[in-house]
């Protein structure tokens, strides 16, 4: 392993292959086993303590050296949005429900993987030839969609099994395409930080469960770890496409949330958290001093594990830093490698400069 003072965070083939494994793994909220297995395999050799808690969070600790070390919680959720089979209609056809925020308009015509054995299935749609013009204007609603495992299906899956989009990881020029980039980017980053923990802090890593259905893992992890501050690593939407009427007379996209290629997104405020200003200042200052590109996520909706963490116990100063990604919660997300690398760089640099003095000023 690289010595800490020699460590330069970077995305090489090893990190990419790990991200690919993490994205292709299936871990719908409540069943994070596949990602947890990879996380445990990766962090066990590096961490001083590793435990799996009652909800399935992986809590890994690396102790630093020196006096007055800050106890820094770093959280990344392992779970992804997906589906659960709810009714067996026979002949390989299953009714299903969604787990986490999925747009019904993103589901028809996609391949899925079902259950532990990744049994392949599809979400079909009525042939266009049998569809009326009026129907084409209506959303294909969840109650009419089915997961179809084929008429030859031999009963390998059952009600209660989870399913995910079957999209496999791919490189698209300077970008990557995968399902569950939200939040395997965060998980891969956090694994890297556990392997190369800055020595000036006690690093308390929480690979959390059930973020997509209510931040449940983060809620108990923050209680158990009892940190001084918390940094949440996630992926946030880059809504940076041109508007439908773009052009000289057209409108401008002023609500892009974040932009691809503009670097890590630092949160000021989202639906559930008002980030700690001391941490915002520290991260912004670190980025500017180190020449790492960054962007401030447009304040507004959305949320991360910080929503649960910052209100735990007597309150925990928290900040979220995200890799921008397009098309989250769909069959295929898209992120830029450069943004991931810069996020890792920024978080690492900020942690190496993080000391207990930061809390000596009042919020």
């Amino acid at each position: 392993m690289t010595e800490n003072d020699e460590f330069v965070p970077g995305i090489e083939i090893e990190q990419l292959q790990l991200l690919e494994r993490l994205c292709n793994a299936c871990a719908v909220s409540g069943d994070e086993r596949e990602v947890r297995t990879i996380v445990l395999e990766q962090v066990r050799p590096a961490a001083d303590e590793v435990k799996v808690d009652a909800l399935g969070n992986v809590l890994a600790t690396r102790h630093g050296q020196g006096e007055n070390r800050l106890r820094v919680m770093l959280a990344a959720h392992m779970d992804e949005v997906g589906f659960m089979l709810t009714n067996d209609e026979e002949d390989g056809i299953f009714r299903f429900d969604t787990v986490g925020g999925l747009d019904a308009r993103q589901l028809a015509g996609k391949a899925v993987l079902v259950g532990k054995d990744h049994v392949p299935g599809v979400i079909g749609a009525k042939p266009i030839h049998l569809t009326t013009g009026d129907e084409l204007k209506q959303t294909i609603t969840l109650d009419t969609l089915r997961i179809d495992l084929g008429p030859g299906n031999s009963g390998k899956v059952k009600i209660g099994d989870r399913a995910v989009f079957a999209t496999q990881f791919a490189h698209l020029g300077p970008s990557i395409r995968a399902k569950a980039l939200d939040n395997r980017l965060g998980v891969a980053s956090l694994i890297e930080l556990v392997k190369h923990a800055p020595v000036n802090i006690d690093l308390l890593a929480a690979f959390t469960v059930q973020e997509e259905v209510g931040l449940r893992g983060a809620h108990v992890a923050a209680y158990a770890l009892n940190p001084d501050v918390a940094i949440v690593l996630d992926s946030t939407p880059a809504n940076d496409l041109p508007p439908y009427d773009a052009g000289e007379q057209g409108s401008e996209n002023t609500r892009y949330n974040t932009r691809l290629g503009a670097g890590p997104a630092i949160y000021v405020a989202d639906r559930s958290t008002l980030s700690d200003p001391r941490l915002i200042r520290h991260f912004v200052q670190t980025a500017e001093e180190s020449g790492i590109p960054y962007q401030l996520r447009q304040p507004g909706g959305g949320g991360t594990d910080a929503g649960a963490i910052h209100k735990q116990r007597e309150g925990i100063p928290s900040l979220s830093v995200s890799v921008p990604g397009r098309y989250a919660h769909s069959a295929a997300g898209l992120a830029r490698l450069e943004d991931w690398q810069n996020t890792l760089k920024l978080v690492y640099a900020a942690l190496t400069g993080l000391y207990s003095e930061i809390l000596s000023v009042e919020r």
């Binding site: 056809i93 391949a111 041109p242």
Partner: protein, 354 residues
């Protein structure tokens, strides 16, 4: 010996949108080469494979044409906007199945991409919480705008990139099974005819442009002037949301078309043969038109007695179409046995009832 499942997986993985069939045609030609006596490409891009009659008679052999269209549906680039591609469809596609689809953009090089639904605030008010029409979807290649401008042009083709999905019980799902499943059936037929005695010439034709113009079928039938023609295509498989009376169960047999595109005596001949061979079938009622190459074949030159044989397929014109390999083998066998039993008197029996 060609294994039909790997062959079908290979041809559904190859590009070949209507009017641009070359990549898939090359693979089919390779498979047909050892199975045919003559192989050539037509002016409109259809592939002709001839299995010559080998039973001695004093008259020239009549010919039979089996047409399976090889072209696929897909998208075409219409505009490049800030590095995002606007597209239109080739063949009919319900835009509601597109958001999130993996695709390949055939630019100066092949670029993987995604069909994407822009966030609500970037759409017209009426589309924000309703299906987004194709004109407002984009294809995102992940490249920087400057590289997209260099690599992609208006008119470039975009193919679906959903890999083939093998399911239990000999079921295959994926894109372009309409109508490469039928190309596989014709290939299975050619294979069954190897070493068999034939009184008729058999033209196996992988037609071009069915999804857009029927140009392949029409010109192929004109050029080859068969005495009989059969379009092999897919039909609507029973599936959730599809009306039961217009659909046929997948894996339970093929369908025999019936309607004005079809010569009734030819229909009857196939039906009798299927009964004799105990090949399960249903009658596929096509009251006005068949929506297949038969529409072109039937009206070529002075007109040709035509038949339609179909393979039931779920989710037609989506990237997750689904067929049964068993049905493909059944279609191949019926086609082979039909060709093999044709003799010098068959055309005399093909009469209109008085």
């Amino acid at each position: 010996m060609i294994e039909i499942l790997p062959f079908l997986k290979e041809i559904i993985s190859a590009p070949g949108l209507s009017g641009h069939e070359t990549p898939v045609r090359k693979i089919i030609a390779q498979a047909w080469k050892p199975l045919t006596d003559e192989l050539r490409t037509s002016r409109l891009g259809s592939l002709y494979g001839l299995r010559r009659a080998n039973r001695r008679t004093d008259k020239p052999a009549p010919s039979l044409l089996y047409a399976a269209h090889m072209d696929a549906i897909g998208l075409m680039v219409t505009e490049i906007l800030e590095g995002q591609l606007r597209v239109t469809d080739i063949g009919g596609i319900d835009a509601r199945v597109l958001p999130g689809q993996s695709v390949t953009v055939h630019g100066r090089e092949d670029l993987p991409g995604i069909v994407v639904q822009p966030p609500p605030h970037l759409l017209p008010v009426e589309n924000r919480d309703r299906p987004v029409p194709l004109e407002h979807l984009f294809v995102d290649t992940g490249y920087l705008p400057v590289d997209v401008e260099r690599l992609v042009r208006v008119g470039d083709l975009v193919s679906f990139a959903q890999p083939p999905i093998e399911m239990d019980g000999g079921i295959l799902a994926g894109h372009s099974l309409d109508n490469r499943a039928s190309v596989a059936a014709v290939t299975a037929c050619l294979q069954e005819l190897v070493g068999r005695e034939l009184a008729w010439d058999v033209w196996a034709v992988a037609t071009s442009q069915e999804e857009e113009t029927l140009g392949g079928a029409l010109t192929s039938a004109f050029e080859l002037r068969p005495s009989l023609a059969v379009a092999i295509d897919v039909t609507f498989g029973s599936s959730p949301g599809s009306p039961g009376h217009q659909t046929y169960p997948v894996g339970k047999g093929i369908t025999l078309g019936w309607g004005p595109n079809i010569h009734p005596a030819l229909h009857q001949a196939f039906k009798d043969l299927a009964d004799r061979l105990e090949i399960p079938y249903k009658v596929d009622v096509m009251p006005r038109m068949s929506g297949t190459d038969a529409m072109g074949l039937q009206i070529a030159a002075e007109g040709i007695p035509t038949m339609v044989i179909s393979i039931p397929l779920r989710y037609m014109h989506t990237p997750v179409e689904m067929v049964s390999m068993k049905d493909i083998q059944r279609a191949g066998r019926l086609l082979a046995e039909f060709a093999a039993q044709l003799d010098g008197t068959f055309l005399e029996k093909l009469v209109w009832e008085e």
